[in-house]
Point group: C3
Chain length 447, copies 3
């Protein structure tokens, strides 16, 4: 269905523009894996959906890791000996090495250089660098800035704190007809980078709003807005006993650029989510691509670790490291477009629709074909092609509804469109010729 039907467009603002506006609001905040930046970002997302904010104390053991001290930053700059500010946190929060310890001292050019990061290939851009688990300080500057540095004594100043506090994340759950869950996760830890990660946050939040405003779904949907790596690890550690409910999942990231879609399959390689996303994006365009799982990337790394091995893939447009602006100041508000955000949201909604519709049926009249004519399902002398295709779809669904084949599998084997097979299934179910197969242990929460 068109998005306009499901969103409040009373203000006549297109969905993509709304998404873009939220990204614009979140962009200036200096986020990290802990700290007030995350809290401010979640507060903005709360305007879209009623997510719950969770705090996990510094020092908490989460599997092999420990929640680090909380980092907050107020200011930072480099001044030359004449007192002229040549690098300033105010200009870009990327200038400060993320998780820098406080510093306030005079240093020689030589010492300063050992704390600087820049990109020779892109002399105007500031790189994004972090040092979460090794206490250090540093500045990220453009190569042009670097070239202008003269032999001088510099005053380096970072007004940050690294002390006991907590790691913050957001969670939002929309109950469905069953307790089987679909997990949607986006990272919330990058500072002023627009595509990575604000695009994922906005698509996830708008998807959540869409689902919450739709009629009840078969699945329960759980949305996580978490700091990368340590956030996912913390969530898994705190929710370990419930991960068995997760039947499908996607990590959303890098969804605002103009590239084609890329779906990275889960470690399982042939999970239902892998089949459904592959089908949907390939049906939209053969230029969209499906790639194999690799244990590098976003939080699918943790969800797909062998001790969990959850069916969670990752949907992006251009993938990490494949566009030059990745992890630099050029991943800015110009790099993402409202139009791209909107088509990303549409695609994700299509995926969820297909997942919801991808049921498995049992033919209640499995011996020979049922007589479709007497049920008005068979146009006796029918002529046009659509009617023929629909009759064929009815026969395929009846033939393959042995409890083993999903709608998507019938669609693939019949080479008919998903929507046609889905409609045929629904009509046959209405005619009491099919019954849905519900997995053992997949309890209906509402009859």
């Amino acid at each position: 269905m068109p998005l306009s039907q499901t969103f409040d467009t009373s203000k006549n603002i297109a969905i993509g523009e709304q998404m873009y506006a939220y990204i614009t609001e979140m962009f200036p905040i200096c986020r990290s894996i802990t700290g007030n930046g995350v809290r401010q970002t979640l507060a903005i997302l709360k305007k879209i959906i009623p997510l719950e904010v969770q705090e996990v104390k510094s020092g908490t053991k989460v599997f092999d890791w420990e929640i680090p001290k909380e980092w907050n930053i107020r200011a930072g700059h480099i001044k030359n000996s004449k007192g002229v500010t040549i690098v300033d946190f105010e200009d870009s929060n990327l200038h400060i090495l993320n998780y820098s310890i406080p510093v306030d001292k005079k240093v020689s050019l030589q010492e300063l250089k050992s704390h600087l990061f820049f990109l020779e290939d892109h002399p105007d851009w500031i790189p994004y660098r972090t040092s979460y688990y090794k206490e250090d300080w540093g500045f990220c500057i453009s190569y042009n800035q670097f070239l202008e540095l003269e032999d001088d004594v510099y005053h380096v100043f970072i007004d940050s704190t690294l002390q006991n506090g907590s790691l913050t994340y957001g969670e939002y759950c929309i109950p469905g007809e069953t307790s089987d869950e679909v997990l949607i996760s986006a990272h919330v830890c990058h500072p002023s980078l627009a595509n990575d990660n604000l695009s994922g946050l906005s698509v996830a939040a708008f998807l959540a709003r869409h689902i919450s405003e739709s009629k009840t779904q078969r699945y329960t949907y759980r949305f996580l807005f978490i700091p990368g790596t340590i956030g996912a690890i913390a969530w898994l550690a705190l929710n370990e006993q419930n991960t068995g409910r997760i039947k499908h999942g996607m990590v959303l990231s890098l969804l605002g650029d103009s590239g084609n879609f890329t779906y990275k399959k889960s470690r399982r390689d042939t999970a239902e989510i892998d089949q459904v996303v592959s089908h949907v994006i390939k049906s939209k365009s053969e230029d969209n691509s499906v790639i194999d799982f690799i244990p590098y990337g976003y939080d699918e790394r943790q969800f797909c670790s062998p001790g969990f091995n959850l069916p969670v893939g990752c949907l992006s447009r251009t993938t990490y490291g494949q566009y030059p602006q990745y992890h630099t100041s050029a991943d800015d508000l110009d790099f993402v477009k409202a139009k791209n955000l909107e088509t990303s949201l549409e695609t994700v909604i299509e995926i969820i629709d297909a997942l919801e519709a991808n049921r498995r049926f049992v033919n209640l009249n499995p011996k020979c074909e049922p007589q479709l004519g007497k049920r008005g399902l068979y146009s006796l002398k029918g002529g046009n092609n659509d009617a023929k295709d629909f009759q064929l779809a009815l026969l395929w669904v009846l033939n393959l509804s042995d409890g083993q084949h999903t709608v998507l599998e019938i669609c693939r084997r019949s080479k008919l469109k998903f929507a046609l097979i889905r409609e045929a299934s629904e009509q046959l179910r209405s005619a009491d010729l099919l019954e849905e197969v519900v997995e053992a242990g997949n309890q209906r929460m509402f009859s």
Copy 2:
């Protein structure tokens, strides 16, 4: 073996000509899914093989269906207001919508038109149409006839009956060494169409005669000459408890035209019959094709419904709907050729021979190779290539006879010819080096 060795050619009539003569005899009869046309046709087939005629009463419940009233027709025509007959059942039984209810009245051109069927693309041909389950009357005419109709009052007359009676089919069973069955089915319900279905009837009947005149086969062969859809459903309903005996099967249809062979695989996709037919027809010509199962076509639709899922495929030359003459008056005695019928029969016999020979053996001397030389199976200094191939065939059969591989599977893996692997198996069995594997429950009826 050449067909001439297995058929009575005392009258010096080639097999293909004999088959064609029977088709010529059956062609004028007006068949339908019930009625005297089927009985007359079975009476002609009885001259070839001693089939048994079965009658199933109208109203009998068969799964989701009910045996319909019996339809018989004696005459039918359209006359114009001057009393001139412009369409006559005598000219072609296709002119009457099959299963038309009786009618005898004057109608306007407008009303008449709503009961007419024609083909604009082929203005000389009469289409074949039916209305089995919706009571209606109608005429099928050429488009040229349609164009000549003037604004007039027409007398439409159909002298048919639709009343309680029975559905008729023929069955013929040739017992084999085991109770495992091969099912061969052909439809007997089409009126004056030569390829569809008289070619299938004649190939099935001549195959039955060939098997009955050969030495005892491993399998029991069951031949069905049944009305399409409702006949197959009736037979399955009445014989449900015995369908477990069916180990292989083929629906035969469209075997008199000049096209290449097409085998549509069973729903199981990799059943032994699928492998054997594919191998045989592909060995004959790469232009023959093997296509995937679809739940549309002939009675494989019923045999392969999920509640039965029998290993039954469909052998044709050009498949339904793929030649323009299909279901028209152009599917006539000129369209089928004696030569095509004969090569179809030869191919089907080759398939049955391969199926019979496609045994599975256990090597009785499985540890190391047996000493072939002391048994005269190994030419010590043998030279020519055929002897080399035969030695290789012996080694392959010994190596793969672990009870898991059929003759065909050994043939595929070794890339040697089926006949060679078969001969090697027979020689090794004669030398007491192999023993056939008989499936549990596959009882020998004769020791």
Copy 3:
């Protein structure tokens, strides 16, 4: 590691030259499936490794076979009526049909011809022929010699004995950490043929010496130097109860020519040895080839008979019958090269190294990624590509170490190099993040 590090090169003789020197020493001996030729050959191999010589008495039943009488030959010639020797065993032991019974008589040219073997296509070469199981006498000569034969009375003389004795073979076992065995087998029954079989004997013996001089291996290695067919059958019959220990194996043959490597897979087709050898030789050159098992060739025929079905393949360069010199006097000391022998040995050692390293691990921290940084395994701001690849290798090993994937399987799925995955596994094991999976029943002999 370079061979120079593992062999005694005190005499400054390259390994290939050493191997070639042994082949030169073994070349003139007239070997057969029994007799003193085998004993003399094993005595030479004993200078390389302390193999044990076994004797199996004539008449011993070994499965379907019986150990034949022992054959020994001292002399043989053909003289013309003038007493001129025209064919002499002294010139080439190939001149005498191997296993010829003694003969000493005058024969016509016609009778002589029925006992002669020659090759029209290669008029200078003497063919190699045998008659082990049919008592016969004969001479193998060049076609040029054949053409010179005049109508004359010839004196044929063969001073051989065929009497009760024994079949001789050599065996050498190097115990490893586990009782799981790797079987390496080479045939020792061919007379003056250099590539077939002396190349295989020398590669096997030098491999054995290499392993015995290395640190303890995971596997126990068993080397067989056995007469083809009957020797393998005898060994299997006498050691039947221990064949369950054989986890991997290779037959070595034809390893001295200049051709690319060819590996013939075991009957199992996907055994670990098949995967490992394929990977190693394909990594060396895409021109090396891997072919499917066929039940013809060397003693893999026996090891892969269905009653054993051992995971034993065959490594060669140019395979039997694929080079014209095969089984002729042209398979001589010029045909094999020291360089080829050395690279064959290197390749076999690489295969064994990969097999030893192809362990299967369990991630001891399977829930989420372990924190590599705190263990010094993750370079925090690492830059160069090698470090990136190594980090990726660490992540792949952790992700796939679920007890199901070997090092080679991780290497394939990650598309990273075997050595990199192996090193990553070792580092992770050192950091107590991995534990090796040892198959049940695969007992460690030493803790």
